[in-house]
Every structure is written in C-alpha cells, then in structure tokens.
C-alpha cells in the first residue's frame, strides 16, 4: 500500500482532489489518458471534504498548527538534466484561517440524560469539551482557561479582541439579550444574569458533548456548504457521465428566510404560493404573475428595458410587489444583493425557477453523506478507468524545459521523477512567487450542531435553505443550510447548520450576529425558562475562513502553459464555477475528446468466454447512450443482460459490437 513504485510516465499528473481537479481526472481517464491523481492530505476532496465529527476535530488541530509543517528542502540536482529548470511548489496549506471552536453543551456522559438535566455544567473540569467562549466570556476567560480546552480554544489574541459586532448588537435591545445567552455559558456571572431568561429545553433530549463524540461517525461535516441546482451544470454532468450512479440525493424540502425577527417559509412553487397562509389572495396572484414573467423574461424585454441600468431592487419596487414579496424574490429566490442589476436579478430568478420541480418542491438537491461525496464520485470514476490514486503524496517541484518553458516532469515526495504532458494543480500548492498577480477573497463559514429545527414542522426530517438578508446596511447576506439526520450528515436528534457568506471580517465577526439571532444555547444548571423561546440551541460550533481564489485569472499566475491551476470553492450556492473550470481545462488537455461521455453500466459489460482473453477488461460501450445510468431499470435489465440473453462476446476487439439492449 505504499506509493514507492509508481509508474514514471503519465499523460496528466493532477495534484489536489477538489471538485474541479476530480472532474478533470475523471474526464481524462475516461478518454484513455494515463492519469496520476495525488493529494498531500490523508483524505479526499481537499477543501470540499466532509468529515466525521472526530475527523473534523483532527482537521481543526491540523489547521491550528498553520497547515502542514514545511518539508525539508531537498536537493534535486540529481534528478535534473542540463537544459532543465526546477520550479518548487508550496508545502504549506494556508487556505484556512481564523479557526474558532465553541462548545455549548455539557460533557457529562450520555447515560441518564433525562435525570441529569439539573446537573450543573462543569465550569472548570479538565476535559476535551471546551467551555463556550463567546463575546462576553472573552473578558472573563483567562489564558489558563483557554489552555485547558484542547480543541475549543483559538489563538489568545483573537479572543482578547473585543468583537466589533458587539456594539452594534447592543443597540438592538432584544438581541443583546440573546447574545449573552450564547456567550456566557459556564461563566458564573453569566448564569446570574441569565436565570429566568433562558428557555427550558425539557421537551428535548439533552445531547452531551460525549454523546456527539461517541456518535461522531454519524456526522459528515462539509467544509463547503453548497446545494445542487436541479438544472445546474453539476447535476447535468453527473447525469451525462453516469457518475450519478455513485451517489444518492435528497430534495431540499424548504426555503426559509429570516424576516422581521422570525424565520418563515418562502413560497416558491405554485403549490406553495397558493397554499401560503402568509400571503393575501392579491399577493398570491401578484407573485404568480411576476414569477411567470421571470421564467421567460427574455421574451418580454419591454417589461424591464427601462431598468437595465438600474437595480433589481428598484425594478421589484416598480412592479408594485408588496414588501413581503420583494423580500421573498430578492433574498430567497434571486438571492442577490439589492444593488444587483435588473437583468442579473432576472437571470438568477429564472435559474431558480427553472430548477424548480425537476426533482422536488424546491430547486435544490443535497447529496446523502454530504457534498464531499461529489469529488470522490469523480475520483472513483477516474480510478475505474485506470487513474492511479495516492493520498498523503505530493509533488515537490516541477521540471521545466528551459527552451520551451513547458513542464516536462514532476518530482514527487519520494523524490521520484515522473514525466507528464500536463500538470493540473490546486491553487493552494502554488508558491507566492508564482501567484503575485492573483487576488483572492475569503469565504466566512460556520458549522453548528443544533438540537432542533429553525422552523418547526410536522416532520423532523427537513432540509432547509435559509436566507438571511443583511442585518445591517453593508453587511453580507448570510446563507444557512440546515441538514437533518436522514441526509446522513448528523446523528439523530441533532441538526447540522452550515452558514456561509463572502468575508468582510473573520468568520465569527461575519456570522455570529446571525447565529445569536437565530439560535440559543442549551439550558443549563437549574435554569428555568418560561418556554417562550422556541429557537433551537447550539450544542457545538466552529467558525473559519476559507480562501476563495475563484476570481483569479489564468494570467495572474506565472506558470508554464501546460500547468493548469484549479481554484478551490467559491461562496456561491451552486457549483457551476468549478464545473465550467474543469471543462475549460479539459478542453486544453484534450481538445478533440468528448467531455465525460457516459460510462457503461456494469451490467452491460459482457466478458468473452474464450479463456485466453477473459481476464482482460474488454467492455462494451455501444449501448451506453441508451442505457445511461438507468439504475432504476436495472431490476428488469440485469437478469437478461448479464445472464440469460445471448451475450455478445466482447474481448479485446477495438470495435465491440453492440451489447444486447435489454427491454424494460
């Protein structure tokens, strides 16, 4: 299982297993290129990865230490011939910053949960579960307190800063109170302030930190939070390539929004609109008329031509939509900032509407086991088509041909020279020297484990997209995705809430105001609430910033022409950018080849029986276009295709005759 005997010649070497790189790997292997796909990490999917709870704790530890420790600089002179240059790659991953972890739940063992409700939350025990260190707690928390929390703490200087949002929040009377609830867990003076004001969570079963750790494998916590537009590029590609066979999905069941201090459902489908209790009859008609127009707005330029230079917001106001409807359309359907141009707003609205109803009542799908499955699905496809995979393995440097300036080989972490015609690399591996012209932004992320739905409903199994408009002018809109346990991303009884926005400050500065408004903390020690607060409690939270290099232009990198850089995830809800990028790179690598043609169905692959060739991997693709990923159809098909119908024998022949098409 060691990577010490890799072949030394490939068509493409790919470093990094994020979405774009993985799609490129699958596409190249699919058309017969020899692909070596490596990642220095011990897991797949790079910054798209999903982790079990314990896996996430290790990831947090790794990133706290400032990325991987730099490897010793080796002498490559023995590997290089005259006329060749060396271009070293970065050994540090600096894409994650401002990591902060908070634990709000108690660390008591899970047995007798019911009885132990009145037990005090331990304040000063030595344990892996950190006490919360919210904003008020900052001042009260001594460095010693911080040190005892082996995964909860952040750098001390961050903690000692007074958070900028604090002042703003104190202006809003009801919210200042929430803030204290969240922030003063475990601090004695906080308890006093709080008694009487915290909600009773008696109806909910308490979930301790120990329980979360114990059930850690039931979590699949994504570093990136995205949904899949039913008619987005990613869904289309999954279907077209048959990579979809490796994954299953759930419909996002609700679109919610935060408005006037409460969470409410956004009516977006026809059924929603007419079933809505919040909308008046007039509003229902108004909204339907407007959405119908948006669906093919290009056909009616007269409706918006006066607004092409003006904002979508103004356009909505001019359309006599009520304030209710303006909010829904702008924030939850178009999901654009107010200042967005009218046409772009219309395009976003149309994209949303077109994806509606393809698979469910909202436009979105979410992959079971998390988004981190998707890059792995493409990696599996690549491996099935001969791609070689090595994790914990990297490329130290590129070997450049002085004359042509092209990359002709790479030297891996074992010091082995591997020749290749193209090199594809994740942005994070490029050294500062080669990326001087590259500007990047950041994404602010938070992941919360909570104990209840943001908006109660008949079913506890809901997947919701929640849009939170800017809480104050200039602040970013924040997107929440609330996942239930049937997505296989969290343990039963908990919910996983992902928050995302483009960064203006640190993740906690950007996102905590929203967290304090929407969530509370678990009731602790002897607190008696009046039960009026129905907000879910946050049990555990992590905040971090992730670099967003998607705005980078190819020309910003000082690299050979056959070195292709893939940016990591962006802050958008969909994954179109990454798929488009993969397609562009593939076109440069293999200009005349089809991008991800459908892989044959395993049941359609028929081996020849003449012994001499049977071991070979002959397979028929002739029926692929028709067969597709017809997994649904497999029940009736496979008996015939694999056994009973007279199989067409396909061995090593270059042009296999078509395999029998099974009737359904």
């Amino acid at each position: 299982m060691a990577a010490d005997n890799l072949p030394t010649e490939f068509d493409v070497v790919i470093l990094g297993t994020g979405l774009s790189e993985s799609v490129i790997a699958a596409a190249c292997a699919r058309v017969g290129q020899r692909v070596l796909h490596v990642d220095r990490r011990s897991y797949y999917a790079a910054n798209w990865a999903s982790f079990t709870f314990n896996g996430l704790l290790s990831w947090i530890d790794d990133n706290k230490q400032g990325g991987q420790s730099p490897e010793e600089v080796l002498d490559w002179s023995g590997k290089v011939e005259s006329g060749e240059d060396i271009l070293p790659l970065s050994t540090m991953d600096t894409s994650i910053s401002n990591l902060e972890v908070f634990c709000y739940t108690s660390e008591e063992p899970e047995e007798d949960e019911e009885e132990k409700k009145e037990d005090a939350t331990p304040i000063s025990t030595l344990s892996p579960a950190p006490q919360s260190e919210g904003e008020e707690g900052n001042q009260a928390t001594s460095p010693t307190d911080n040190r005892r929390n082996h995964e909860g703490e952040t750098t001390l200087d961050i903690l000692s800063e007074s958070p900028p949002e604090q002042q703003d929040q104190e202006e809003c009377a009801p919210l200042a109170e929430d803030q204290q609830i969240l922030s003063s867990d475990g601090e004695p003076q906080g308890e006093e302030q709080l008694s009487g004001s915290a909600p009773t969570q008696a109806k909910k079963k308490k979930i301790s930190y120990t329980k979360i750790v114990k059930e850690g494998r039931r979590f699949n916590i994504d570093l990136v939070s995205k949904l899949m537009y039913s008619r987005g590029l990613l869904v289309d590609l999954l279907i077209k390539s048959n990579v979809s066979r490796y994954a299953e999905f759930k419909n996002v069941s609700r679109i919610l929004t935060y408005r006037q201090g409460k969470v409410e459902q956004v009516p977006c489908s026809r059924a929603d609109v007419f079933g809505s209790k919040e909308l008046t009859v007039v509003e229902k008609r108004m909204l339907m008329k407007f959405l119908t127009f948006c669906l093919d707005y290009e056909q009616h330029p007269e409706e918006y031509q006066d607004f092409t230079e003006r904002s979508f917001w103004e356009f909505l106001q001019n359309n006599m939509l009520t304030e209710n409807l303006q909010h829904f359309v702008l924030h939850s359907i178009a999901m654009v900032p107010r200042e967005t141009h009218t046409e772009e707003g219309l395009r976003s609205t149309q994209h949303f509407l077109r994806s509606l109803g393809r698979y469910g009542n909202t436009p979105f799908l979410f992959p079971i086991y998390g988004l981190g499955e998707i890059p792995q699905c493409f990696c599996r496809m690549c491996a099935v088509f001969g791609g070689i995979y090595c994790l914990r393995h990297s490329v130290q440097c590129l070997v450049l041909d002085k004359e042509s300036g092209r990359c002709k080989a790479v030297i891996d972490t074992c010091g082995q020279r591997i020749s290749c015609s193209h090199f594809v690399v994740e942005d994070g591996y490029i050294r500062e020297e080669q990326r001087k012209g590259v500007e990047h932004k950041h994404i602010s992320r938070a992941v919360l484990i909570t104990d209840g739905l943001l908006l109660q409903s008949e079913s506890e199994q809901q997947i919701s997209l929640v849009t939170v408009p800017p809480l104050e002018p200039g602040a970013p809109a924040v997107r929440l995705v609330e996942l239930c346990s049937s997505t296989m991303t969290c343990m039963p009884g908990t919910y996983l809430v992902h928050l995302t926005c483009p960064s203006s400050g640190s993740a906690r500065e950007d996102l905590q105001p929203v967290v304090s408004r929407l969530f509370t903390k678990p009731a602790s020690a002897g607190e008696e609430g009046d039960g009026s607060d129905e907000r879910p409690a946050v049990l555990w939270a992590v905040y971090f910033n992730m670099r967003d290099s998607t705005a980078a232009d190819r020309s910003g990198y000082d690299l050979p022409g056959n070195v292709h850089v893939c940016s990591g995830p962006d802050a958008a809800l969909g994954s179109d950018h990454s798929i488009r990028l993969a397609q562009e790179v593939f076109r440069q690598l293999a200009p005349h080849e089809e991008f991800c043609p459908p892989a044959p169905n395993p049941e359609d692959i028929v081996y020849d029986g003449d012994g001499g060739q049977g071991e070979g991997a002959g397979f028929s693709e002739a029926a692929q276009a028709e067969e597709g990923a017809a997994e649904e159809a497999e029940e009736s098909k496979e008996k015939e295709a694999s056994q009973e119908s007279s199989p067409v024998e396909v061995g090593e022949m270059p042009d296999p005759p078509p395999a029998p098409l099974a009737e359904e």
Binding site: M1, A2, A3, Y44, R217, V235, L238, I239, K240, S244, R245, A247, E248, F249, K250, N251, S269, R270, M288, L291, T292, L295, L353, R354, L356, G357, R358, Y359, L365, Y369, G372, E373, Q376, C377, C379, R380, A383, V384, G386, G387, I388, Y389, P602, I605, Y607, G611, G612, Q613, G614, E615, G616, A617, F619, G628, A629, A630, E631, E632, E638, S642
Partner: protein, 216 residues
C-alpha cells in the same frame, strides 16, 4: 439502496454490496469473474472500466439475493479507495496470494482499513471472509497451517477463511455462500434503518421523462 429488502408476495429480495480487497495481483478480479461469469484467465491485466459485477442468487424458494461485487479499481491499489467504494457495503472478501507471503502480511492492514471506513448500521464491523487464493499453486509458509489461520482470523476479526483457486474453481462458490449466510443473519437481526424511500437517484431516464418544468 443496498439493504432494500422488500417483501413482495412472500419472496424477499436483497441487494448486497460486497467489497473485494487485497494487494495487487492476488486474484481479486479472477475470483469475481470465476464466481460471476464462470471465467478464468491466466493473463493478468488491471481492471479497467468496471465498477462491480452482479451475481443473482436464488438463495431459497423465498429469497432472491443480488450480490454486487465491488472490485477495487486496480489503480486504487495504494489503499486509497474513495468513500464511494466503501459506503453501504454489507460484507467483504479480503484476498491474499498463498504463493506470496507479503500479500498475507498486508491482510491485517486491509482489514484494519476496512473496519475504519465502513460499519454496519449498529456500529459493528461488516462481516468479512479471508480468501487464501491460488491454492492450486505452491504455498508460501504462513498460510499452510490451518490452526494458525484459524487463530489469525479470530484475532483479526474475520468470520473465517477459505483456500480458494479461481483457476481450478475451488471454494469460490462456498466462500460466497458462507459470507451471504452471515450477511443475511445480520440483516435479520437488525431493524431496517429509516426509510430511504425519498432518496433521489439522478439518471438519464428521469432526466428525459420529466416534464419541462413543474413550477408556475
């Protein structure tokens, strides 16, 4: 998807995903081809373009078992299989080559890797069977002592082991039967997990069949 044992008119149907893992060249593909396609070839070639092979077993008059045998794509050979490979598997064969002691040495590593990557719904490791393949050929020391092998299985958590030969068709059928028996026993002891009925599969059929837009 995998444990979808629905009972339609007395007859139970099961779909089981079974993994076949082990070092490069131990005969994983040969065993699958022998079992599923009744084929064998001496010529070794890495497995290209094949996800899994399907074997339909009429277990008894009231039980139909469809066994998906997942080969590691030859090229995930460094043990870095994706989660896609492991997820929802309910059984595994770990294969080594009796003529090469080094492939036996790697068995515990593979078993450990397996147990860390996939578990049954109740948290237990998935049932796995050790295959000592190429038993038609001259053995390397270790695997020749049945008592040692029994002990090894106990220590490492295998249900049992079989000497197999894909070439001479020895014990392949028997080993599969043994594993399926155990999977079925497990299945009976476990409550079904919550209904997976509303999971969505994306495929070209639905893509074509669906109407243009269900919205307004």
């Amino acid at each position: 998807m995998i444990m979808a044992g629905g009972s339609v008119s007395e007859c139970k149907e099961y779909l089981f995903k079974v993994l076949v893992i082990g070092e490069l060249g131990v005969g994983k593909t040969s065993i699958i081809k022998r079992y599923v396609h009744q084929l064998f070839s001496q010529h070794y070639r890495a497995t290209i373009g094949v996800d899994f092979a399907l074997k339909v077993i009429n277990w008894d008059s009231r039980t139909l078992v469809r066994l998906q045998l997942w080969d590691i794509a030859g090229q995930e050979r460094f043990g870095n299989m994706t989660r896609v490979y492991y997820k929802e598997a309910v059984g595994a064969f770990v294969v080594f080559d009796v003529t090469r002691g080094s492939t036996f040495d790697a068995v515990s590593k593979w078993k450990h890797d397996l147990d860390s990557k996939v578990k049954l719904a109740n948290g237990n490791p998935i049932p796995s069977v050790l295959l000592a393949n190429k038993c038609d050929q001259k053995k390397d020391a270790n695997s020749s002592n049945p008592t040692l092998m029994d002990n090894f299985c106990k220590e490492t958590g295998f249900l049992g082991w079989f000497e197999t030969s894909a070439k001479d068709n020895i014990n392949v059928e028997e080993a599969a039967r043994f594993l399926v028996e155990n999977i079925l026993a497990n299945d009976k002891g476990l409550p079904y997990e919550e209904s997976n009925g509303d999971r969505v599969k994306l495929d070209q059929d639905t893509a074509v069949a669906e109407t243009k837009s269900g919205c307004c």
